[in-house]
Symmetry: none
Subunit: 226 residues, 2 copies
DNA sequence: GATCGCGTGTCAATTCGGTGACGAACTGCT
DNA sequence: AGCAGTTCGTCACCGAATTGACACGCGATC
């Protein structure tokens, strides 16, 4: 659920403090000290956003960005030491999507990261409407319809249904649902899911006692019938 | 489908050489020697990006930028004679999106133009008239009508409505709205959106307490009903 | 029939959005 | 420059919606 950020920066102190700051903001950050290391790390596990310092020993930030561009369309933000127009231009030429100049406020950085993530998400496959029998789930519109009628769901119910509907037929465990709907840092009772499934059913099911959409798989979890 | 650039610069030699350079890069460039001429030219046929020299005889570049801002959200790049921080700040204050300092390389200029075009395109596609029941939103004309009557909206309210109306039915989060209406470098309170939505409703809704156009999606954000 | 997993009803705490008010900044005008 | 009217961003408060926890009961499974 958390977005992964790859941090490419040679100065260890800066790198670590940036990682901590990003983690504070709820991102999951991975560090790389140089261009090659970054490419390896990315190949091993692609990040959602890559942050590259333009000044790196060996393969510099621009080369790293170009190399990355060859294998992925991942959003890239260049970090330049000063507001040097040449750097900025070079960065954009190399295929970066945005840039920040040091020193920057972490707020500014996260704003730019969010902007890129949003754009990437909008461009990607995203969240088209999902149809389950007489149920329509429209993630974009924050809306669910049953046989044409809009039904009102709370945020949690809505996200729960979206998560289930996005994997029709697949059983999702309570742990999986907790992680995806409530966030990876939630440590509450697993029964919480039950309660919300129930509330969801009262709104979404014809006969909540005999659910036709959100069905229980005893001992495993819940799923929606395709 | 070439992008149109309006070039506002009093020195004819510079102006022509810039036009030629931009045309070499595949843009379609139009010239204006002064602020008034630029506004006329823009009114006659809006450009995709406007490039304004800050030093102009008569109406100076800043005034020109402000005047332009009053009628359009077109991306504006200011051109300053030297890297004078004061000029830069004044330019951004006047509503410019970016700036370059003379002398500049054409490469740098085109990189910035590309960046702005990309951002503008991401910000929102068309700006044709949008009709929502008894509401007409005319982004081009900076005007909104309710059942034929023009209603007066402030700049912020107008942009907010445009952004929502451009994605009818789609829920936009406060963050998304802040980013698109206020700019992604705005770090204020998310509640700011609420306040402006409220002000917007008092002007646009029949019964502001039971909005029919701009509706709240609790926990997610706001949307307009299609 | 014992046990475990799940459904159900209730309740208090929290979160969320609407609202009115206020001062600062800005605008247009003189 | 001075002035009056707008517009904008922030704040505090309120009511309602939402949420998570708990206790209890039922039915399936062994």
């Amino acid at each position: 659920m958390a977005n992964r950020i790859l941090l490419v920066e040679d100065d260890e102190r800066i790198r670590v403090s940036m990682r901590l700051a990003l983690e504070d903001e709820g991102y999951q950050a991975e560090e790389a000290a140089g261009g090659e290391e970054a490419l390896e790390a990315f190949a091993r596990r692609p990040a959602d956003v890559v942050l590259i310092d333009i000044m790196l020993p060996g393969m510099d930030g621009l080369d790293c960005c170009r190399a990355l561009r060859r294998v992925s369309a991942v959003p890239v933000i260049m970090v330049t030491a000063r507001s040097d127009t040449h750097d900025v231009v070079a960065g954009l030429e190399a295929g970066a999507d945005d840039y920040v100049t040091k020193p920057f406020m972490i707020k500014e950085l996260t704003a730019r990261i969010r902007a890129l993530l949003r754009r990437a998400r909008a461009a990607g496959p995203g969240s088209g409407p999902l149809v389950l029998g007489d149920l329509e789930v429209l993630p974009d519109q924050g809306m669910v319809r049953r046989s044409g009628e809009e039904v009102h769901l709370t945020r949690t119910e809505f996200r729960l249904l979206c998560e289930l509907a996005a994997n029709p037929g697949k059983v999702l465990s309570r742990e999986q649902l907790l992680e995806r709907v409530w966030g990876y840092d939630y440590f509450g009772d697993g029964r919480l899911v039950d309660v919300h499934v129930r509330r969801l059913r009262t709104k979404v099911e014809q006969d909540p006692a005999n659910p036709g959409h959100v069905v229980t798989v005893r001992g495993l979890g819940y799923k929606v019938v395709p």
